[in-house]
């Protein structure tokens, strides 16, 4: 049995972890051993050496991201740490688990992270629909404040950190780092131009780090056990464990903490129990809606950042969406494009105009009114909305990934719809 630091306090049927239970299992030991005792640069070195990469989808090295925060100057004003808990990537259900069942782990990760970057204010930016997680996080923050793990002069040191839960009001685009910052400032969630990067000029123009929930939950364990231990948890090029998931027509859909680099086949067959009887695998999105399709030939790839990228996709959030052979790939891509068109913030033309156009064409093909010329438009738009769009943020390029890869892997399905003027699939979703 491999180590599962992130979910060690989480098990089916086990109640959510309160402060007593968290403490009893070594909780806040890393805070007690680190705050005021280890130099922040020393902590940064451990995180850099650990090779932890962002778990929100982009996979950027966390230590590197933190190292761009300028050194604090006396009396310069607030510096911020934000946990991105706006989990809205379709097919993704991992951060909810961490927040609902072990909220103190996130809080401890945020205390250690803010100490490292000298932040004195923190926000957990969470979507409104996560009512249970919001309540448990607020309860846990109160418990931590009572123990002086949070607040002024933590544990008698010079370090202060105040943490606040900000409950959002909807819109997928809020998960984009700079859109999230605008939303936290009470504005429309349009992404910002970069540079300046948030590390230098983020929330209210102050140095700010935004990290995904799962990323932050790794920090206490790395600080406690060290970079070498963390590196040893991964089974390939990457370090640590990863919350992987599978949804769709599999026998046991779910979310599991496994060594990063576990193969797609092992996740799908051993943990998700394989396809439901009567269904076969047709394709999969490896890490949420904005990743390229993979197909059966990719099953033995390790789920790590480089391997999945070399196969033309991205590991993304690590939660796979499974397409079976009785569900229409054109209908699935049309559903995805409807989502992305609706969630565009409307700022950049390729995204605002291109995505609804693509969606309309896909709806036509699915309904049997498509023409062969539509395929050329879809191919061209994949370029205009994707690689060469120069949009402000990654929404449009991400949106187009399942379309451009779908056109490649499911070309015959598109043509069959157009030539037969109907959708050949009847046993799936529609």
């Amino acid at each position: 049995m491999s180590e599962t630091p992130l979910t060690r306090n989480i098990a089916p049927g086990k109640p959510p972890t309160d402060l007593a239970a968290y403490d009893a299992n070594g909780g806040y030991q890393a805070v007690r051993d680190t705050i005021g005792k280890v130099d922040p640069d020393g902590v940064l070195d451990i995180i850099k050496d650990s090779n932890l990469r962002g778990r929100g989808g982009a996979g950027y090295p966390t230590g590197m991201k933190w190292s761009f925060v300028p050194k604090p100057r006396p009396d310069e004003g607030h510096r911020y740490l934000v946990a991105n808990a706006d989990e809205m990537e379709p097919g993704t259900f991992k951060d909810r688990l961490l927040m609902e069942f072990d909220p103190h782990q996130l809080i401890e990760g945020m205390i250690l992270s803010s100490y490292t970057i000298s932040a004195d204010r923190g926000y957990i930016f969470i979507r409104d629909e996560y009512h249970t997680a919001i309540k448990r996080l607020n309860d846990a923050i109160k418990e931590a404040e009572n123990k002086n793990y949070l607040g002024d002069r933590i544990l008698g040191t010079d370090f202060s950190f105040h943490l606040h839960v900000h409950v959002s009001a909807g819109r997928y685009i809020c998960g984009e780092e700079t859109a999230l910052l605008n939303s936290l400032e009470g504005k429309r969630a349009n992404p910002r131009a970069k540079p300046p990067f948030p590390q230098v000029s983020g929330l209210w123009g102050r140095p700010t780090i935004v990290n995904n929930v799962e990323t932050l939950c790794n920090i206490p364990h790395i600080v406690t056990h060290g970079a070498d231990w963390y590196q040893s948890l991964g089974s390939g090029n990457d370090a640590g464990t990863k919350l992987y998931g599978a949804s769709g027509r599999v026998k046991k859909p779910g979310c599991w903490e496994l060594p990063i680099g576990t193969s797609i086949r092992e996740i799908l067959e051993n943990h998700a129990g394989g396809m439901l009887d009567g269904y076969e695998l047709k394709g999969l999105l490896p890490g949420g809606a904005s990743t390229d399709f993979l197909v059966a030939e990719h099953l033995d790839l390790p789920m790590d950042y480089e391997s999945i990228m070399q196969a033309g996709s991205r590991m993304g959030t690590g939660t796979m969406i499974i397409l079976d052979d009785k569900t229409c790939p054109v209908g699935m891509i049309a559903n995805l494009m409807k989502f992305f068109a609706r969630e565009s913030c409307g700022f950049c033309t390729p995204c605002r105009e291109g995505l609804p156009w693509v969606k309309q064409i896909l709806d036509g093909i699915e309904a049997g009114t498509g023409r062969l010329g539509d395929m050329d438009i879809l191919e061209r738009q994949s370029q205009f909305i994707g690689a060469i769009s120069n949009t402000h943020c990654a929404h449009a390029p991400g949106a187009i990934e399942p379309l451009s890869s779908g056109l490649k892997y499911f070309h015959e399905d598109f043509i069959a719809h157009i030539e037969n003027k109907t959708c050949p699939y009847t046993g799936g979703a529609t």
């Binding site: 607030h78 989990e87 809205m88 990537e89 379709p90 097919g91 993704t92 259900f93 951060d95 909810r96 409104d128 629909e129 996560y130 009512h131 249970t132 105040h162 606040h164 900000h166 409950v167 959002s168 009001a169 909807g170 819109r171 997928y172 939303s183 936290l184 400032e185 009470g186 504005k187 429309r188 969630a189 209210w204 998931g245 599978a246 949804s247 769709g248 027509r249 859909p253 779910g254 979310c255 999105l285 809606a289 939660t319 969406i321 499974i322 397409l323 079976d324 569900t327 209908g331 699935m332 559903n335 995805l336 409807k338 989502f339 969630e343 913030c345 799936g428 979703a429 529609t430």
Partner: protein
């Protein structure tokens, strides 16, 4: 112009003001509380009328138009009246694969509403929502603050009775 405006309750209650001021207290400026303030007033009144919007804008030192630009950006700020409970029905990809369209259609016919509409008895408003992060139990929906999952056409009536 005033005649078409809903000026009902165009002043905020002491309770609403004190909740909004509590949010402002940990922010560097008043307007940063815009979304919090809209949510606080909506919690008390169910939705944000033009009158409520104006009152919040005055409290935060913003124009009505600027605040409306924010209010209309966010899907969970309601600028029209909604029912006692809002049904947020997931229409994202994992739910779609697991038959989410059938569930939505069942809700529509059971309540006799289309997406975006409120039932005649003002009990429910039906809205689509982005992935609820419960994909291993798809299809899923929220009814008010409660999450319901593993939905089938037959358990919908029980949930919405």
């Amino acid at each position: 112009m005033n005649s078409v405006r809903n000026n009902l309750a165009s002043t905020l209650t002491d309770q609403e003001v004190s909740e909004i001021e509590a949010e402002i207290s940990h922010l560097p400026d008043r307007r940063s509380a815009a979304i919090d303030a809209l949510k606080i007033v909506q919690k008390h009144r169910g939705w944000i009328s033009d009158g409520s919007l104006s009152a919040i804008a005055r409290l935060l030192g913003m124009s009505d138009e600027e605040l409306d630009g924010i209010a209309t950006f966010y899907t969970l700020i309601y600028r029209k009246p909604v029912g006692e409970k809002v049904i947020l029905c997931c229409d994202s990809v994992s739910c779609w694969i697991m038959g989410g369209d059938k569930i939505t259609n069942k809700i529509k016919s059971h309540l006799n509403v289309e997406l975006g509409e409120t039932t005649e008895d003002s009990k429910y408003t039906l809205l689509p929502v982005t992935c609820l992060g419960d994909c291993d139990h798809a299809p899923a929906m929220m009814v008010g603050d409660e999450l319901h999952h593993d939905l089938t056409e037959s358990n919908i009536e029980e949930i919405l009775k």
